[in-house]
Symmetry: C2
DNA sequence: CTGTTAGCGCTTTCAC
DNA sequence: GTGAAAGCGCTAACAG
């Protein structure tokens, strides 16, 4: 005979109070650490709670206090290291402020994002950190209208007034442009992201604005945009290759984009030919040092963005101001010259 | 003057009932889709709910029904693509079953895992999917004792009887051993994971059990273990290099481990020497095709494991049996011969 | 400082 | 089929 499953009901605060020999309210006061309580009842309640393995019922607490101490974090692609790094840092920071993070992954899909916004609303999260896809959906409009404290991460949406914590894209692209000039590249293929995503638009705009002063060709045949995912970027890279405009360097506008571009280059040109093309990227990935030639990159400080975002939304929840912030980038030059 | 923040209180089911001109209970019955309701009240309640933008209060619902429709997913390293892939698939599957997933990241740290178990308990999740670090902590013991439906993902803990959904490590390592023999490697450095993690122990055991029949050296100086993270693996690789035992191939026991090992090889031996060593890995990473030479790998079906895990815990919640499952691996041979 | 009590929003009896 | 009412576990307001 197997041992019985003795599934005991979780202890409630009532059990704790009874065991400690105090009233319900006193137990609550001790356990919430709020008002004054005598050292005696404090000790007895704590002891009773420990003996019973008491863990407060979150939903009941949330219902009564009308707050959950939960933050929603909706990222656009959890498999993108930028976001998994960000999510990790945000969780840590949230925990330090007494919040739990509900992490959701929209997978660069607006419908999934809407579904999660709905879930968050029903969970009654206290605040939302959001890296949106693109335009404002009815669901998002409702979320904003509800007055839920909201900050954007790395991406914004036209017409929604919320603080944004993200990368200084102008600086990052500037670093890439400087590097391209230093390396003497004139014909550069630019593989961007969707213009509907602010990050995509900003990086493209900064590139367009600066390329001429940096001696880079303005041939529009070298400009393409994917979807910020590897497959879409590979297709974009192929479209440039199809045009037959020659180039000596490729600039990928985020990590997955660069991955897709490199894949396409190697498939279409073969490994040897592809190795004659220098690649530079926004986002620094683990393997860039192993590529041939090594890939230089703008490193975004995903962790700092996550931390700042949490602090921002915590400020909003507390009724304080939050003004958003652009986080500086660093450039990792892996070109042969830089290695000497 | 800025526009006023009109933060309207969220509509409650009481508001919906009033607007529809029915009693509270009727509105509830319609919205929960449970009992019989007349077509008339059904229509009016639904209309009222839509007009008010009603979204049910999850905590209140949870309190009353004594269930949350939330699953906890505790992974050991969200930045590891294996887990981010798994988490994504699990979320999708959970949604299909009417559950929301609370995703937490223990970062290969037992204390953080305990903290999240506590949070999950207070949130009153309905079930837990867990990729544990190692041994059984008091917190985990309490979780198990509470009778919470639990399944393990890819890793188990000695002495805890819960179904496990994970990779068929024996098969995967067998594929590596076959490949090593085919490639004619005799001196192979094995960089494993902690023996306290079942995955680490299993892969190591399978390797030890099979290496002799596959003509591989049994020199213990070639065996080392890291922590399943890149830095720890790099140190492990360096320890092997320090011993001066020559080898022609390296076997990394998971993705981050292989990353760290390759980094160490290139730093210590230089790029050219390192390129003489063939590398093979459990976990197939994006960049393995770009490495020189390309890295062959056992591909784990993380998505399938995530889906099966969700189905397993959903079965447990429903009081059904769940027996766990080993998911087959596929081997991706990127050696020069295979490319022809 | 502590006991008592109302009530958060919802589901689910129990009558009718 | 529907209305009324109890109560899930907790916090906070109010007396004492």
């Amino acid at each position: 005979m197997e041992s019985e499953e003795v599934e005991q009901r979780m202890a409630t605060i009532k059990d704790v109070a009874a065991r400690a020999g105090v009233a319900l309210g006193t137990a609550s006061r001790v356990l919430s650490g709020s008002s004054q309580t005598s050292a005696d009842s404090r000790a007895r309640v704590l002891a009773a709670a420990a003996e019973l393995g008491y863990i407060a019922n979150g939903p009941a607490r949330a219902l009564r206090r009308a707050r959950t101490d939960v933050l929603g974090l909706l990222v656009s692609d959890i498999r993108n290291p930028f976001f998994s790094e960000l999510a990790h840092a945000a969780e840590q920071e949230a925990r330090r402020h007494g919040y739990t993070v509900l992490l959701a992954n929209a997978n660069e899909d607006a419908d999934q994002a809407d579904a999660y916004l709905q879930t968050f609303a029903s969970q009654r999260i206290d605040g939302l950190l959001f890296a949106p896809q693109s335009t404002v959906s009815p669901q998002l409009a409702a979320t904003v209208a509800s007055g839920l404290p909201l900050v954007f991460l790395n991406r914004t949406i036209e017409g929604i007034d919320a603080p944004m914590y993200g990368t200084d894209n102008a600086q990052g692209v500037g670093q890439v442009l400087d590097w391209l000039r230093r390396r003497g590249h004139r014909d550069v293929a630019f593989i961007g992201g969707p213009d509907t995503i602010s990050t995509g638009a900003e990086r493209r705009a900064a590139y367009l604005a600066g390329r001429e002063q940096h001696g880079i060709s303005t041939d529009e045949g070298l400009m393409e945009a994917g979807d910020f995912l590897a497959d879409g970027a590979a297709k974009a890279m192929n479209r440039v290759l199809d045009r037959g405009v020659p180039f000596t360097a490729v600039f990928g506008a985020n990590g997955p984009t660069t991955l897709g571009a490199v894949r396409a280059l190697r498939e279409r040109l073969g490994v040897e030919q592809a190795a004659r093309i220098e690649v530079v990227s926004v986002d620094d990935l683990d393997w860039f040092e192993f590529a041939s030639p090594p890939i230089s990159a703008v490193r975004q400080d995903a962790a700092e963005i996550g931390r700042l975002g949490v602090r921002g939304v915590v400020d909003l929840i507390a009724g304080r101001e939050a003004s958003g912030q652009r986080v500086p980038t660093t450039f990792v030059d892996r070109s042969p010259q830089a290695q000497q």
